[in-house]
Every structure is written in structure tokens, then in C-alpha cells.
């Protein structure tokens, strides 16, 4: 299998091994830098990540330019509308289906069948000559093994923040699954878990600031621990891969999302974090609206940050994170 065609996707709930089974290379296009190009096509008061994807696909910038077809999974409303319009606006083929917000067994099966339908359409459109379950399963096993290594490294708090950030993004964008990660000797005194909206490549503000402050970093969001696969699929069929991926999705969009809160609480505790940063993107209602619930339900201090990848954000975030870390240091001195 030469994996010559690239299948782009955005959300962690998509099972990338399905692309491998179809003979394509999956690429989770979580990168920023094309927001201005996106703003030329839509109103500016839109999620900066979605704007960046739109702008990137329209101009062929970076990872977006290499994608041959999109697994157009409808998730939040802004992403749904992105994939409803992307093909018309850019000419790039989109194969749409919906990720359910509800978490019932019926929703899980419907999702799995939807992924199967998408795969069938990719074959019909000539992007694939068929599905190889063995290849998909072998790849997924490697991915799960790499995820376990990365998870343990992250929970140790002994990997420098920028290095950890790079490892996670390599995992998602480049499909680089580590067999080992170099871990330092002593965990830092202040250990900060970070959850919220996607933290894409090119958006280093939070890990970089934590590194400068000498604090530890535990990314819990969908480009962190929540993005890693955990459930081993029964086999390499599309249905099994999709069901496992659906099961692993701990997103704030889930309805109800009590299970997501429970998972974030558990991970924060497992890593021994002293504080939690809820970092949301502008116009990301799903995360930002939960801020009071986080403050109430998470047993460590919570800092809410809102960002838009702008140059001004770096300064604002730096000041607020510094104050947060200093306060945590004082609390634990």
C-alpha cells in the first residue's frame, strides 16, 4: 500500500485507521496560520481554527494543500457548516457524515455505519480500490501502543512542555507513534493540566509560556490525552474501528457531557496537577460556556483563557498564566 492519497480530517473521533485500510494516508489537519485567508470568505466572528482550515484549503497552504479529500465529519456547528460549504468554496472533495452528540448505543452504531458509508463513497469516487481490514488493524495497534507511551510520559509531568507539545502534534499530524519518550528526573513543583478547544500546530502560546515559567504541562484536550486512542477494536472492520473511536471521544460536545467532566477530573487527579487551565478559542461556545462548571466541579484552581491565535494573545496569556503559576507556587510552597 503506497498511501499516496491523503485523507484529511479534523476531529479525534474520526478513526484514522479506516483511511489506512482504504489505502490512504490519514492526516489530522490541526494547524493554524491561514485565518486571514479564511476571513476573506466568511464573517470574522467565527472560530479561528475553522477560519484557518477554510483559508488553508482555499489557498493550499501547508498541510491543507496536500489533502486530496476530506472526511467531512460534522461535529460542532461551525465545523458542520465548514464541511457543508468547503467543496463549493474550494473545489476540494468532501465526504460528509455526522458525529452524534448523543451517546446512546443507537448513536454509536449510526456513527459506525456513517463512517462505513463514507468509505464506500471514497471507493466509488476512485480514491481507494477497496478496504483492507488487516492493514487497518495492524496500523491501529501500533497507534494504540504509541498512545500508551505518550500518555504515560505526559502523566509523569517530566517531559518539557514544548517537547511534549511537539510529540503530541507529531502523533496526530504525522502519525509518528513513539516507542519511547525521554523522561526527566524530577517533576516540576507546579503542574498544570490544560483542557479546552483544540491546540493546533502553530499555537504554542500555552506550552511555551509554561516552559518559560518552569511549570509542568499536561495536555488533556483533543490534541492531548483526550485525542489518544485507548479502546482496542475487536477487529479491523470499519465498524469496530469507528465504535472504538466513538467510545474514546471525551468531548465537551457530548450530550450529556457528565462523562467528559468525570474523565477530566480523573486525569487531572491521576497526573497530580495543581491547577487546570481551560483554554478556549474565541466563539467556541461549547467549551467557553462550561467555565463556571469547571470552576465549581474541578478540585484544583481553574484559569479560563480565551484565545484566537493573534499576536496579542501571546502577551495576554503570558501575563495571566504567570500570575496563575505564581499563585499555585505560593499555595504549594
Amino acid at each position: 500500500m503506497n498511501h499516496s492519497r491523503l485523507l484529511g480530517y479534523l476531529c479525534r473521533a474520526f478513526p484514522p485507521a479506516v483511511a489506512v485500510g482504504l489505502g490512504m494516508r490519514p492526516v489530522r489537519a490541526v494547524a493554524v496560520g491561514s485565518e486571514k485567508a479564511g476571513e476573506a470568505l466568511v464573517r470574522p466572528d467565527l472560530c479561528p481554527f475553522v477560519k484557518s482550515v477554510l483559508g488553508g484549503v482555499a489557498t493550499g497552504a501547508g498541510v491543507f494543500g496536500s489533502v486530496d479529500a476530506w472526511a467531512g465529519m460534522y461535529t460542532c456547528d461551525m465545523t458542520r457548516r465548514l464541511f457543508q460549504e468547503l467543496e463549493r468554496m474550494t473545489g476540494k472533495p468532501v465526504f460528509p457524515f455526522q458525529l452524534p452528540a448523543t451517546r446512546s448505543p443507537e448513536s454509536a452504531l449510526w456513527f459506525a455505519d456513517s463512517v462505513g458509508e463514507m468509505a464506500k463513497n471514497l471507493v466509488l469516487a476512485g480514491f481507494s480500490s477497496g478496504y483492507d481490514a488487516g492493514a487497518a488493524l495492524a496500523w491501529e495497534r501500533k497507534r494504540i501502543a504509541g498512545a500508551a507511551v505518550l500518555r504515560n510520559a505526559a502523566l509523569s509531568f517530566r517531559v518539557p512542555p514544548m517537547e511534549l507539545h511537539r510529540l503530541f502534534l507529531d502523533f496526530f499530524l504525522e502519525n509518528r507513534f513513539p516507542s519511547r519518550v525521554a523522561i526527566g528526573d524530577n517533576p516540576p513543583g507546579v503542574r498544570v493540566a490544560v483542557t479546552g478547544s483544540v491546540i493546533p500546530r502553530g499555537d504554542d502560546t500555552v506550552p511555551e509560556t509554561l516552559a518559560e515559567l518552569g511549570a509542568g504541562y499536561l495536555p488533556l484536550g483533543c490534541t492531548g490525552l483526550a485525542g489518544l486512542p485507548r479502546t482496542v477494536p475487536e477487529d479491523g472492520s470499519i465498524r469496530s474501528l469507528a465504535l472504538a473511536s466513538f467510545e474514546d471521544t471525551k468531548c465537551i460536545r457530548n450530550r450529556p457531557n457528565a462523562d467528559t467532566f468525570k474523565w477530566i477530573r480523573e486525569q487531572t487527579g491521576a497526573g497530580g496537577a495543581n491547577g487546570l487551565v481551560l483554554r478556549t478559542l474565541s466563539f467556541c461556545d461549547l467549551w467557553h460556556t462550561e467555565k463556571e462548571r469547571f470552576r465549581r466541579d474541578i478540585p484544583v484552581p481553574v484559569l479560563v483563557l480565551s484565545g484566537d491565535f493573534s499576536p496579542g494573545e501571546r502577551g495576554r496569556t503570558g501575563v495571566r498564566l504567570q500570575a496563575f503559576v505564581e499563585t499555585l507556587e505560593a499555595l504549594h510552597a
Binding site: D77, R80, Q98, P256
Partner: protein, 473 residues
């Protein structure tokens, strides 16, 4: 009481209301099936404004008793919900789908259902941030659209009693309301979640029978199952099993209601001199989605309006007939948060000639030659907010042609997750395909008066539409 045909302020309605015959006043009663003799509701806009809805003092109303009945019917919904609860009825809060789950809930007797979404306009009508402040305390701050008022209302229970069940449609829905619904559950109100499904063209070649929306048979089967889950949840809350006959009865009743509203829209929006003002139509349209929590009384209310419109059309009368030439015809997209903007449009020499207030699917018939859940699922796919922005724009273009509109006004909603996508697509497509003036602006919260910026923009827009008409001569 038939003359004059004009628009009146709330104060001007006061002396006129005293002339209304007792027979008409006595016929205006709701909750007949729950409270012996029913409950009279024909109060005037001024009286309702004294209870807190201050915006009513800035509006102008049609002069017919039937229009007064419509306003009173709508503003008495709050009383109905509290009285029904007091009479032992269960209260169901429907959220997000705008028209479909009401068909399911009204299959059950002994309950009242209302769309909590409609609290969206409460802060503007009350000219008070009271509900928004409560929502903010719980995390729903001002990045979200006004729909966050629902959370404030669920907390304060000022507008309705505590619901026995909330039915929440999620999945293919706006992010802000999805977030609000999650917080509603967080304050301890029972919620049944169901998946709203984006229609995606499938290989089976299925299209909805009345909206013509392509969908896949597999998605329809799933959605039908989701609606079945809603029926079961309602049955558990209400302590009864819903039969196919009950559902068919509800489909038939809602079909009659939808036909009334559909015909009214055709009559009014199709006329050069509309027989009813835009505000009354605004209210009438929304009754199609939920009966205004009164599935019996909504029929005489709408039938009365229908009759008035017919009589005026045949007599050549219109409340907007003051000018030498017919009013400028404007198609309106999104329900305006500030209802006084519709009055402003008419004051500027315009009239409403077609609308897309999110609820156009609720004017389509429900198929009766299939099982009720399939009919409702098909109608879900017709929801323009579930379809792509491009498809919505195409539907708007079709409507604009049908109603011969001369301009399109898009009153966006700041914070709504769909506006940044839809507004631009609608504007570009309408301008490209029809060459008509399009104005897009967000409506800010502006208690006590119309935002000066909005007023200026609407004045400029109406001048352009007028110029456009003159140029075409």
C-alpha cells in the same frame, strides 16, 4: 369594530378595546379542557406592558379585534403554563427543533408543551437584562446569542413553571443553544436528549416530499428511532403509552394548523398592499411550531386573522395603505430580536414580503400516507438550519421570487454560531442571482429605543430599495 383599518399604539388601543363586544371577549378563552369554563385572556398590549413587557409600548398594532386577540393569546402563554401546572397538568419544555417534537408531545393529553427557545426574545420585550444576568452567573455569558435567556428563565422560573421534562435536540444544532441546554440539565432539570440529523444526500435518491431535501434512507431510519425515543420519554413522564392513533391525530391537527399559517402567509405576503402588518404575521408564523401552548384555542385565533385578511383583500383595505404607491417589498431573514424593527420597516415605507424566521419547515404539510414518525422525520430534514447555508440561500431566492420582494434584509444575531456562515452566503447568492439590494446587520440589545446604527442602516437600505424600484420603471 371593523373601521378604521390602521395601526394603533398600545395607548390608542385602550379606549378601542372597551368597544369590543362581550360576545367576542367571552369567546377568547384558553385552557377549556383543564379549567372549567376556560380562562379569559383578552387583555390589551398596554396591560401586558404593565406586567413587564415594555417593548409593547413602542410597537404599533393592527386595529382589528382579531389582531388584539392574537397579541393577547401570545402574551398569555405564561399564564397558561402556570395555570395548567396548577390544574395538575405536566409541563414539557421543547428545545431546539422548532416544530417537530411539538407534534409528538401534543399527541398526549393532559400536558402543555412550549418552546423554551422563544424566551430568546424575552429580554428585548421586557427591556431588561434580568434573565441574561442569571444566565451569565451560570456561565452563559454574552458571547452567546440571546437564547441564553432560556437558562435564566429555567433558573428563575419567572416565565414558566419548572418543566417536568425538557426535550433537547442536539447534534445538528447551533453550538450556543447546545451549550445552554447542557447547563439547563446542570441545574437539575430533567432532560431527554435526542439527535438531530443533518440531511445528507444518499445513494437511495430519497428527497423529502414537500421540501425536496435529499437525504439517505439510513439517516431517516435513525432519526425515526430518535423520535420514537422522544415519544417513549414523554410517555414515561406523562405516565401513559402513546398509540399510533394518538400520533396520527396530532399530525392531522398540526397539518390543519400549518395550512392556516401557510395560507395566511400566501395571502398577506403575496399582496401589493398587505392586509395585515408584519408584526402580527411574525406572531402568527410562530404559532405554527407549537400552538402557543394551546392546541385548541390557536385555531380560532388564526382563523380570525385569516378572515380579516380575506375581507380586507376583497375590500382593498390595508393598514399600510397610506402611501401613493404600494409599500416597498422586503424579504426578512432571521426573526428580529427587537420586534420594533418591523414597525420601523413599515414606517419607512416598506412591508414584509416573505420571511425566513428559521421556521419555514413548519409551514410544510406532514405526510399522512406514511407512519407519523416517518412524516415528522421527513419534516426535520426540511429545517433550513440543518441544511447547508447554500441550500438555505437557494430557498430564500426561491421565496424572494415567489413573493416578488425588492430587497432582502438579514438581521443577524450576534453570537449565533450559524450567522457567520449563513449571512455571507445568503448575501452573495441573492445579489448574484437576483441583483437585489441586500442589507446584513446584527441587532444589538437596545432597550427603550431602536439602535441608532440599525435605524440609519435600515433608512439607507430602504432608500436603495426605493431607488432600485424607480430605476426599473
Amino acid at each position: 369594530m371593523r373601521d378604521p383599518v390602521k395601526k394603533l399604539t398600545a395607548r390608542e388601543w385602550e379606549p378601542r378595546a372597551r368597544e369590543i363586544p362581550d360576545e367576542f371577549r367571552n369567546s377568547c378563552r384558553s385552557l377549556r379542557s383543564m379549567v372549567p369554563g376556560g380562562v379569559e385572556y383578552l387583555f390589551t398590549p398596554w396591560e401586558y406592558s404593565c406586567r413587564g413587557d415594555l417593548l409593547l409600548r413602542r410597537l404599533r398594532f393592527d386595529s382589528s379585534p382579531e389582531a388584539l386577540r392574537l397579541w393577547a393569546f401570545l402574551f398569555s402563554e405564561k399564564d397558561r403554563l402556570f395555570l395548567a401546572k396548577n390544574a395538575g397538568a405536566k409541563i414539557i419544555a421543547l428545545m431546539k427543533d422548532l416544530g417537530q417534537t411539538a407534534i409528538l408531545s401534543y399527541a398526549f393529553p393532559g400536558q402543555l408543551s412550549f418552546y423554551a427557545d422563544e424566551l430568546w426574545w424575552a429580554p428585548c420585550f421586557a427591556e431588561s437584562t434580568h434573565l441574561l444576568d442569571h444566565a451569565s452567573d451560570l456561565g452563559a455569558t454574552d458571547e452567546l446569542c440571546f437564547v441564553r435567556a432560556v437558562l435564566g428563565a429555567m433558573k428563575t422560573l419567572d416565565y414558566f413553571p419548572r418543566p417536568d421534562l425538557c426535550v433537547a435536540g442536539v447534534g445538528a444544532c447551533c453550538d450556543d443553544f447546545s451549550a445552554v441546554m447542557q447547563l439547563v440539565e446542570g441545574i437539575g432539570i430533567p432532560v431527554h436528549w435526542w439527535e438531530m440529523t443533518t440531511p445528507i444526500k444518499g445513494g437511495s435518491g430519497c428527497v423529502t416530499p414537500f421540501g425536496g431535501v435529499p437525504y439517505s434512507a439510513r439517516d431517516l431510519a435513525f432519526l425515526r428511532g430518535q423520535l420514537g425515543g422522544v415519544v417513549r420519554a414523554l410517555g414515561e413522564t406523562l405516565g401513559m403509552r402513546c398509540t399510533g392513533e394518538m400520533l396520527r391525530g396530532s399530525v392531522n391537527r398540526l397539518n390543519r394548523l400549518r395550512a392556516l399559517v401557510r395560507n395566511l402567509r400566501e395571502m398577506v405576503y403575496g399582496a401589493d398592499y398587505p392586509p395585515l402588518p408584519g408584526l402580527e404575521m411574525y406572531l402568527a408564523e410562530f404559532i405554527a411550531i407549537h400552538t402557543c401552548s394551546e392546541p385548541d384555542e390557536c385555531f380560532p385565533v388564526l382563523a380570525g386573522l385569516h378572515r380579516v385578511a380575506e375581507e380586507r383583500l376583497s375590500a382593498g383595505l390595508s393598514p399600510l395603505a397610506g402611501e401613493k404607491e404600494p409599500p416597498l417589498r422586503v424579504y426578512w431573514v432571521y426573526p428580529p430580536t427587537d420586534a420594533s424593527l418591523i414597525t420601523l420597516l413599515e414606517d419607512l415605507g416598506g412591508c414584509i414580503a416573505g420571511t425566513d424566521y428559521f421556521i419555514n419547515h413548519a409551514f410544510l404539510p406532514l405526510r399522512t400516507a406514511t407512519d407519523p414518525l416517518t412524516a415528522v422525520a421527513e419534516n426535520c430534514f426540511d429545517d433550513r438550519l440543518l441544511c447547508s447555508p447554500s441550500r438555505r440561500a437557494d430557498e430564500i431566492i426561491r421565496d424572494v421570487r415567489h413573493f416578488r420582494a425588492e430587497g432582502v434584509l438579514v438581521s443577524g444575531i450576534f453570537g449565533a454560531s450559524h450567522c457567520p456562515w449563513d449571512d455571507r452566503v445568503i448575501q452573495e447568492k441573492v445579489q448574484k442571482e437576483l441583483g437585489l439590494p441586500v442589507m446584513v446587520f446584527d441587532v444589538p440589545y437596545s432597550p427603550g429605543r431602536v439602535s441608532e446604527q440599525v435605524r440609519s442602516r435600515m433608512e439607507a437600505f430602504m432608500e436603495i430599495v426605493r431607488h432600485h424600484r424607480e430605476k426599473k420603471r
